[in-house]
Amino acid sequence: MKTATKGLGLQFKLGVSVFALLVGQQAMALGTDAGTSVDNQALVSYTVGTVAQTPIDSDPAGNSTPGNGNPTTFLVDRRVSFTLVEASGDNLPVVNPGDTDVVTSFTLVNTSNAIMDFRLTVADFPGAVFGNADSGSPFANYRIRVANGDGAGGVPDLADLDYVDELDEDETVEIYVFADVPLTAQNGDFDNIELAAFAADDANAAATPGALDADLAASAGPDDPTVIDTVFGDAGNDGTEVAQDQWEVESADLVITKTAAVISSPFPGLLAVPDSVIEYTITIDNTGGAADATSVSISDVIDSDVTFVDEAYGVGQDISFDSGASFCNADAADADTDGCSLDAGTLVVGNANLAITVAGGASLTIQFQVLIPNL
């Protein structure tokens, strides 16, 4: 059966048009399977005098006896061809310091005319990716994983294979790279990585998955017509493709300031003298950070020369958040579980009872008052 171009309603009468069609097919189709033996045999009929003779079939070495010829054959060799691209575009996976098993993915398509294995490696990439320079502090513990080796079963876990196994012709596989983000990573850091895929043999065929075969090498002629040879038809004709990807670090970037102001004094001029009340303002500024700072806890040792002012802002309101937006009570051992405590001169704001979050780009102020005692 010849395959006709169906339904297009086009007529190719010009050789140029037909050539264009062929080129199109060549680029699109994976082609005849490697290992296929393509036969050709001509049959010649003739007469001698007026008597039809038994037709003679051709032979690679010539044949003159009907039925004695053999097809002229060649073996289809392996054209190694595949593409590797990172899968998420410049939609960067954003990670935080201390994250483990952060992941990004790549897509490999086997456009060879044979089932293939692919060996994979990953390394820090010092160059720029998506226009962002690598920050020079690589993430730890790069790990490559492919679900079942061929992507069947979707997103892999860390128990999966670290190579591509038995990828069919025209099949696509997602390759995942896991890493751990160091605690030292800074807000705005970029970690650039490069994944490399190497075409590997598939001597095991589909029946024995779970083994990575040796890297393929282009066959050096002259070849053996009975053996499947390898031709590299991938970009660069080297059986290797690389692609880069990137993680962007987002982190809280806290700046803490503490100021003091005399708010009442027994003498005019708000001097810090005995019986004066001083208000401390602690500002936790995350306006430079991209990530929320969570579970923020402030600990402040109250100088023994001053006295903490109880209920400075009202009943049970020892501490003011954001200039009176909310309050809490600094009692011993946080007995009322509102998140603030005062024990042995140490004021703690934010604990297991009160998870304080300072959003990225925002800030928080905490205020409390002390009295300079008149001894």
């Binding site: 169906k6 010649v44 003739y46």
Partner: protein, 158 residues
């Protein structure tokens, strides 16, 4: 396994012996187009034995036939099916002193390439190289004693 092959070969040769030698000797060879740089640094297409062939490449089949008898041969027709894995390259068939015809119905009927049509979805359209199943060369004159003829075509591996 070797024994089996031996048995098959033996059978073939016995049947071959039973068949008388014909008047023509027919040979088909296959080569591949390859582009090389010549000494002037220009690209040149040459033919090499078709050993390493991968999809998209072109192969050239050359059929050589010779009258090895002592009588002239008339009505010489060379018929060549096109493998399913190959697409005939338009305009490539060549054969001095022959009329070249194609079939789109598995070799039942033949006509010149531009006269062939294919029925598709109830409508008739001109045949394309995709539709060709066979090529044949019809010699215009008889093949004299000792004379040799050549037929050739190019096909692209799918």
């Amino acid at each position: 396994m070797k024994k089996m092959i031996g048995a098959i070969l033996l059978t073939l040769s016995v049947s071959a012996l039973a068949q008388e030698q014909g008047h023509l000797s027919v040979q088909t060879t296959v080569q591949k187009e390859t582009v090389v740089m010549n000494e002037n640094g220009e690209q040149e297409t040459t033919l090499v034995p078709a050993e390493t062939v991968v999809p998209g490449e072109r192969v050239i089949y050359t059929i050589t036939f010779e009258n090895v008898s002592d009588q002239p041969a008339g009505d010489v027709v060379i018929t060549n099916p096109i493998s399913d894995n190959l697409i005939y390259v338009d305009g490539s068939a060549f054969g001095p002193g022959t009329d070249i015809e194609f079939s789109v119905d598995g070799g039942q009927s033949f006509a010149a390439a531009n006269e062939l049509t294919v029925d598709e979805d109830g409508a008739s359209r001109a045949a394309t190289v995709d539709d060709f199943t066979h090529i044949r060369w019809v010699m215009q004159n008889e093949l004299a004693v000792g004379a040799q003829g050549t037929a050739r075509f190019t096909a692209q591996l799918k």
